[in-house]
């Protein structure tokens, strides 16, 4: 089974203080720590597990600048056999549609039985690239995949619906699946493992290799154009309890007591 996994390199923002940059269309990136997109981490792991069981190859592919290589190295260290990075200044400003177009231009020429994506990217959260890519490739797909079982020529997938409900679908291969977190437990890679992967080649391709013209990539090829970023207005703000931990604890305890909660 030959598998392509689409991975993105995203900033970890849960604990970071985010500032809008001077263009007003991006966040200030300096000082942020980047890593493989959480959902893609699960997609890569799933691909490697399938390969370990059935044989075949895993190719990790990303669109991004040179610093995205660290995510590709992580994929190689985890068990990917090949890595491709698509990069070009013209790709800047690509939305989900243009991103999928660029991925499609390369993936359509790779031999693969399975394409795995993350359900969504932690930065833009479109949850769209995989599904658009499936349409462009003309292969069936499923998103929110929580369990994947391969049979001959088909896959049985559990999709998670709302409220804990799941549905089981049978889908013909080749297919594209966008996976949810929790589908597996991504393995840990040692620094040693990542160092070893430094020797493996990352294939770097540009606009010319995609066979696309400028009109199909970046802002020109996108459905959507970002106008501005801003910190969301606060509709309801919590009343902040301040003081030393002991003082805060006293306030909370009193609050709970006054409400009859303890």
């Amino acid at each position: 089974m030959d598998i392509v996994v689409c991975v993105k390199h995203v900033p970890e923002t849960a604990e970071a203080e985010l500032k809008i940059d001077s263009t007003g269309k991006n966040i200030e990136k300096t000082g942020l720590v980047y890593d493989i997109n959480e959902w893609d981490d699960y997609a890569l792991e799933e691909a490697v597990r399938i390969k370990e069981k059935q044989g075949g190859t895993v190719t990790a592919i990303t669109i991004g600048t040179e610093d995205f290589d660290s995510t590709l190295r992580k994929c190689l260290a985890r068990g990917a056999d090949a890595a491709i990075r698509l990069t070009d200044p013209k790709f800047q400003g690509s939305d989900a549609y243009a991103t999928a177009k660029i991925l499609h231009s390369i993936i359509k020429n790779l031999h693969c039985d399975l394409i795995l994506c993350g359900l969504q990217a932690g930065d833009d959260g479109s949850a769209a690239v995989g599904t658009i890519l499936a349409q462009l490739l003309g292969v069936p797909h499923a998103t929110m995949v929580k369990k994947l079982e391969l049979c001959t020529g088909t896959a049985k997938v559990n999709r998670e619906l709302e409220g804990g409900l799941e549905e089981i679908l049978e889908i013909k291969l080749p297919a594209l699946f966008a996976v949810s977190t929790g589908i597996n437990e991504p393995r840990y890679v040692s620094i040693m493992g990542i160092r070893k992967a430094m020797q493996k080649e990352i294939k770097v391709l540009g606009l010319a290799d995609t066979g696309l013209t400028e009109a199909y990539v970046g802002e020109a090829g996108s459905w959507l154009k970002t106008e501005k970023l801003y910190v969301p207005p606060v509709e309801k703000q919590a009343e902040f309890l301040k003081g030393t931990p002991d003082e805060v604890a006293t306030k909370i305890a009193e609050l709970l007591k006054s409400r009859g909660l303890i």
């Binding site: 900033p11 923002t13 849960a14 203080e17 809008i20 966040i27 989900a96 549609y97 932690g122 959260g125 479109s126 949850a127 769209a128 995989g130 599904t131 658009i132 349409q135 797909h141 499923a142 929110m144 999709r159 709302e162 804990g164 409900l165 799941e166 549905e167 089981i168 049978e170 889908i171 013909k172 297919a175 949810s180 977190t181 459905w223 959507l224 154009k225 970002t226 106008e227 970023l229 910190v231 969301p232 606060v234 509709e235 309801k236 703000q237 919590a238 009343e239 902040f240 309890l241 931990p245 002991d246 805060v248 604890a249 006293t250 909370i252 305890a253 609050l255 409400r259 909660l261 303890i262």
Partner: protein, 328 residues
Amino acid sequence: MTAIFVLAEHRQGIIRDITYEMLTKAHEIAQKTNTELTAVILGKSAKEKAKPLTEYAQKVLIIEDQKLENFTSDAYQKVLSTLIKEHKPLLTLIGHTSYGIDLAPRLATELNIPLATDCIDLAFEGGTFTVTRQMYGGKVNTTATARKAQSYMATIRQAAFQPQKPQPPANGQIIEQPSPLTEEAATKRFIEYVLPPPGGVDITAADKLVGIGRGIKDQANMPQMEEFAKTIGAVLACSRPIVDKGWLSNDRQVGSSGKTVKPKLYIALGISGAFQHVLGMKNSDLIIAINKDPNAPIFSFSDYGVVEDLFKIVPALKNKINELKIQK
């Protein structure tokens, strides 16, 4: 007159809330753009479900087909692409749900209609389709504009709009159209629904919940969290990463893919407040959030907030409550 399409979402016989949320927003857009609000419902026995939709929409388009008994994105795509090509609506709204996420990007690609996903607001401003979305787990909002087109599509975040019936009711006209589906789908087949295994803990029945998130950092801290919950007489609940890591079973998960809870008290420990989590707990009577990030979105949904390391507050609070218990 051109239309605004709203795809009614239903599962196991029930129309889902997102439908009315979208219809409410679409009503406003339809009035401003002088278009006709049209609810579209697909299903095996869609007609039975059309009545409540007529109260919101001027037209209710019904496609009935045995093959549409259960949602599959490819059957829905076939029907909707036919309808959109025929009616050329200015805008089509679909829920950003497990159904819409599977359907909309592919449908928009087939039709080459600009699509914006997970929108929390949308409008036509000077003829330009403009949407508001969130990025970085809700820490940043973005305004985006779509490239000029005849027709647009958007998926709408759950609970972004408060459903409100128009007054007077729209008294919409029901229109049936034949199904364009000719054969059973060949590439994707629905097999069955699976319910979460019964038993376990029912967090929806608890009066008090302590919700823990990725901020608790390590599985080794779990006993401390359990101990704390016990002290205040609460049941332990959690955000999704805790379940993904296997630290708690999925019956403890609060949020869109977990449970919706409404306890008297919800204490959020190290939870950022991603909307999928907030969907499940925002209606709790009293919400107290402890998070070391002053900009964590959870504070916009809490009554009280503490900006501090949870590992400082939790032991202190446990002691305080134990003291109070002794005083009694």
